[in-house]
C-alpha cells in the first residue's frame, strides 16, 4: 500500500468512530463594521503602529505628493507597472524628472542581479485594503509581479479610500475569492519587512522592504 493510501486508510477507520463537525459561528468576525471615516482612521493607525507611512492625498494631487516623497527619500530609480493606471500616471508625471523609470518587463531570470541590487523603490496599486489590521491586499500579476513588492527597499502603494474593507473575512467573502478562483499568489502586506529575532528588538527591512509608504486617495 502506498503511504497515501495507508495514511488515508488509518484516518478513515478511526478507533473511536466517526467525528461530527461542530457549528462555526462567524458572527464575532462579521459583526466588525465601521463607518468610512472610522475605517480610514483605523487603517492609518494600524499601518503607522507597525512603522508604515500613510499619506492622505486627493485624486488630483497624489502625483505631486509622490514626487515630493521620492525626492525626500532620495529615490534614484522607480520600478513602475506598465499597464495599471497607477503606473501609467506615474510614468507620465515623472517622464521629465530625475527619477529613472524602470519596468518589470521580462522574466526574473533575465535581470535577477539588477533587481536584487539596483532598484531603489517600486510603486504598485492594490486590489483592496483592510481597515481592522492596516493591510494591503494584492494579487500579483504579469504587470505587477510578486517580487516587485518584496525586493526593492521601498514600496509605494496607492490605495483608494473606497477600496477599504472592514476585515480580511469581508474581503474574501465580498470579492467572492472562491468562485473567482485563487491566483498563483494572493498576498496580504501589513507594513515593512521586520524581525524581532535578536533579543526581541524590532529591526526593519530584514529581507523585504525597509519602508512601506501608502498613499490613500480620497
Amino acid at each position: 500500500m502506498s503511504a497515501r493510501d495507508a495514511i488515508l486508510n488509518r484516518l478513515r477507520h478511526r478507533r473511536d468512530g466517526a467525528l461530527t463537525a461542530p457549528v462555526s459561528d462567524f458572527s464575532v468576525v462579521t459583526e466588525k463594521q465601521w463607518s468610512d471615516s472610522e475605517k480610514l482612521d483605523l487603517f492609518q493607525q494600524k499601518i503607522e503602529s507597525v512603522h508604515g507611512e500613510v499619506h492622505r492625498v486627493s485624486k488630483d494631487n497624489w502625483l505631486e505628493k509622490l514626487k515630493e516623497l521620492l525626492a525626500e527619500k532620495q529615490v534614484k530609480n522607480l520600478l513602475t507597472p506598465l499597464k495599471a493606471q497607477v503606473g501609467v500616471d506615474t510614468r507620465e508625471a515623472l517622464a521629465d524628472g530625475d527619477v529613472e523609470l524602470l519596468a518589470y518587463d521580462q522574466p526574473i531570470e533575465g535581470w535577477k542581479a539588477e533587481l536584487f541590487s539596483g532598484v531603489d523603490a517600486a510603486i504598485t496599486d492594490v486590489r483592496s485594503a483592510i481597515a481592522e489590521t492596516g493591510t494591503l491586499v494584492l494579487w500579483p500579476d504579469n504587470d505587477q509581479p510578486r517580487l516587485m513588492t518584496l525586493v526593492p527597499p521601498i514600496h509605494f502603494a496607492v490605495v483608494d479610500a473606497s477600496q477599504l474593507k472592514n476585515t480580511f473575512h469581508e474581503v474574501i467573502m465580498s470579492e467572492d475569492w472562491v468562485s473567482v478562483g485563487m491566483p498563483t499568489n494572493a498576498l496580504l502586506i501589513s507594513g515593512p519587512s521586520k524581525t524581532a529575532d535578536i533579543e526581541q528588538t524590532l529591526a526593519y527591512g530584514v529581507h523585504g522592504p525597509k519602508e512601506l509608504v501608502v498613499l490613500v486617495r480620497q
Binding site: 526574473i108 535577477k112 542581479a113 493591510t135 517580487l147 501589513s190 524581525t195 533579543e199 529591526a203 529581507h207
Partner: protein, 499 residues
C-alpha cells in the same frame, strides 16, 4: 524519530541533568524571563476584549475540529485541487520518508543548494542534516533560524528560534562565523544578515518552506511571516517544496481569517504579521516570477495515530502559536533546549510523546506544575492540562484501562513496587479500620527509622526539602484524647455548678 539524531534530540535519561543545567544558568534564566514577560504583555494588549477573545477562540476551535472531523476527505480535496492547479503532491509516513522525497526532488533538478523558510516540521524531520549528508547545502533564511544554524543548535522556541541568546551572544556568533563587526546595534546586525542571505537567495536551486494553513476548498498553501524570507523562499528559486503535517488542512478559505487573527495575536501580540502569503499554483504562462515547480509533501509522522483517540485528537488542533510556552512557568525557567525535543513547552509535552514514543519522552508529561495557564491561553482551546494527566496515566499504565491505547511506549514509567504501593494506599484509604491501624503502625515505625534512610528512599523529592517529622500520635488518636479531655472537663464544670 529521525536518523543521525543531533545532540539536542536524545531525550531519555538526560532530561533531569539538562533541566538542572538550565535552571542554574543565570543567562538562560534572564534571557527567557525577559522575553516571556514581554510576550505575555503583548498578547494581553492584543486582546482588549475578553468577550471577543472568547468568542474567537470558540470559533477557531470549531474550525479546527470541523477540519479534523473531515480530515481524510479534506486531504483528498486539497490534493485534487492542488494537482489540478499544477502542484505536485507527495505523502510520507514519517520524517525519513519525507526527507527522501525532498532529496529525490532536489536530485532530479541537480540542485546543490536549498534555501529554507521557517518550518517546524522540517526540524522534526531533521531535514537539514539529511540533505547535508547527501551533499546538498541547506541554509535557513529566517533570521532566528539562521542564527541557530550558525551556532549549530536547534530552535529553543517554535516562533522565536534564537530567543535563548542575547544581542551580545549573537554579535559574537556572527563575528566569529561570518566576519561581521562586533556590535550591539541590532539594525547593523540585521542589515549584515540581509546582505549575506540575499546573495544566497539569488543562487539557491530550491526553496523549502512550511505551511501554516492548507485550504482544501481552493487548494491554497498559506504562510505567515514578518521578514519576507518566506516570500523569497517561495518565489525566487525555480523549485518550491512546501512540507507540512497532515493536520494543517482547513476546509474553507474563509476559515483562515479568524485563525490568522488568533495566531498572530496569540503568538507575538501582533494584530497581523507583515506578510500573509497564499500560494495556489506554480508560475503560469506569461507570469514573470515565481517557481516553475511547486511540491507539497504531506507528513504523517504519528499524527494519524493521535487521530484515533477522541481525547488525544485535540492535540491536532494546534496552530503552533507558542502562546502555551510563553505563559508556562516551567518553560520560562528552563528554556526550550532543556526539554530535548523539537517542540518544547506544553505543546511539546503533549505532542512529543506521540512523535517520539512515550518510552522516549516519558519525562515530558511530568515536567509541568499543572497550573493550567497553557490551557487558558490556547487560541484553539486544547485542554493541555487534561492531556498531560492522561499521558501521565498512560506512562504508568499497566492495567486494562486503555487496553487498545494508541500511545506508543505506554507504561514506560511503571516500575517495580510502585503500582503495588499505590494499590495498598488505595485499599487503606477505603477501609476505616485498615486506615487507623495502618497510620498508627506507620507513626511508630517512622520514628524508629533513621532520617538518612528515609531521605534516600524519597529520592529527588528530598534533595531540596527537609524530611517532615511525624507526630508521635496520629490525628485520630489526638482527636480522641481531646474529646476525652473535653468530656471530663465538662463533667467537672457541671459538678462545680451543682455547688
Amino acid at each position: 524519530m529521525g536518523h543521525n539524531a543531533s545532540p539536542q534530540q536524545n531525550g531519555v535519561g538526560e532530561f533531569h541533568p539538562r533541566v538542572h543545567d538550565a535552571i542554574t544558568n543565570p543567562q538562560i534564566r534572564a534571557n527567557f524571563r525577559k522575553a516571556m514577560d514581554g510576550l505575555m504583555e503583548k498578547r494581553q494588549q492584543a486582546f482588549p476584549s475578553d468577550e471577543e477573545l472568547e468568542r474567537t477562540r470558540e470559533l477557531a476551535a470549531a474550525i479546527r475540529l470541523r477540519a479534523l472531523s473531515k480530515l481524510p476527505e479534506l486531504l483528498e480535496k486539497l490534493e485534487a485541487n492542488l494537482i489540478a492547479q499544477g502542484v505536485k503532491v507527495h505523502w510520507a509516513e514519517n520524517g525519513d520518508e519525507a526527507c527522501k522525497i525532498i532529496l529525490d526532488i532536489c536530485n532530479g533538478k541537480n540542485a546543490k543548494s536549498v534555501i529554507k523558510g521557517k518550518s517546524m516540521v522540517s526540524e522534526e524531520m531533521e531535514l537539514n542534516h539529511y540533505l547535508e549528508e547527501h551533499g546538498i547545502e541547506a541554509l535557513e533564511s529566517d533570521l532566528g533560524e539562521y542564527i541557530v544554524q550558525l551556532a549549530e543548535e536547534t530552535p529553543s522556541h517554535i516562533i522565536m528560534p534564537a530567543i535563548h541568546k542575547n544581542t551580545e551572544q549573537i554579535s559574537d556568533l556572527l563575528h566569529e562565523k561570518t566576519g561581521t563587526q562586533k556590535s550591539r546595534d541590532v539594525e547593523y546586525l540585521t542589515a549584515e544578515a540581509r546582505q549575506q542571505l540575499r546573495e544566497r537567495f539569488e543562487k539557491a536551486d530550491v526553496g523549502v518552506s512550511g505551511v501554516n494553513f492548507a485550504v482544501a476548498e481552493t487548494g491554497t498553501l498559506c504562510l505567515v511571516e514578518n521578514e519576507g524570507n518566506g516570500r523569497l523562499t517561495t518565489t525566487v528559486p525555480p523549485v518550491h517544496i512546501a512540507v507540512t503535517g497532515i493536520e494543517k488542512v482547513v476546509e474553507n478559505l474563509e476559515d483562515v481569517a479568524p485563525l490568522l487573527s488568533l495566531l498572530t495575536r496569540s503568538a507575538t501580540g501582533q494584530h497581523i504579521t507583515t506578510y500573509f502569503n497564499m500560494i495556489s499554483s506554480p508560475r503560469k504562462e506569461g507570469e514573470l516570477d515565481g517557481p516553475e515547480e511547486v511540491h507539497l509533501v504531506l507528513v504523517d509522522g504519528g499524527r494519524s495515530n493521535i487521530y484515533q483517540d477522541d481525547e488525544l485528537l485535540d492535540t491536532l488542533r494546534c496552530i503552533r502559536c507558542g502562546a502555551c510556552m510563553n505563559h508556562c512557568p516551567v518553560y520560562t525557567r528552563i528554556g526550550g533546549h532543556a526539554y530535548g525535543y523539537t517542540y518544547p513547552g506544553p505543546i511539546g509535552k503533549i505532542l512529543m510523546p506521540h512523535l517520539a514514543g512515550l518510552d522516549d519522552a516519558k519525562d515530558l508529561p511530568s515536567a509541568s506544575s499543572l497550573c493550567g495557564a497553557c490551557g487558558e491561553v490556547c487560541p484553539v482551546k486544547i485542554p493541555i492540562p487534561k492531556l498531560l494527566v492522561r499521558l501521565r496515566e498512560e506512562s504508568v499504565a499497566g492495567d486494562h484501562r486503555h487496553d487498545n491505547s494508541v500511545v506508543k511506549g505506554r507504561g514506560a514509567k511503571r516500575k517495580g513496587m510502585e503500582p503495588l504501593i499505590w494499590k495498598g494506599w488505595a485499599k487503606m484509604h477505603k477501609h476505616g479500620g485498615l486506615y487507623r491501624s495502618g497510620t498508627g503502625l506507620a507513626t511508630v515505625l517512622w520514628g524508629l527509622l533513621p532520617d538518612a534512610l528515609l531521605s534516600k528512599g524519597m529520592g529527588a523529592w528530598m534533595s531540596c526539602r527537609t524530611m517532615p517529622k511525624l507526630a508521635k500520635t496520629t490525628l485520630h488518636q489526638q482527636m480522641k484524647t481531646r474529646q476525652q479531655v473535653q468530656a471530663s472537663d465538662n463533667n467537672q464544670r457541671e459538678n462545680a455548678g451543682d455547688l
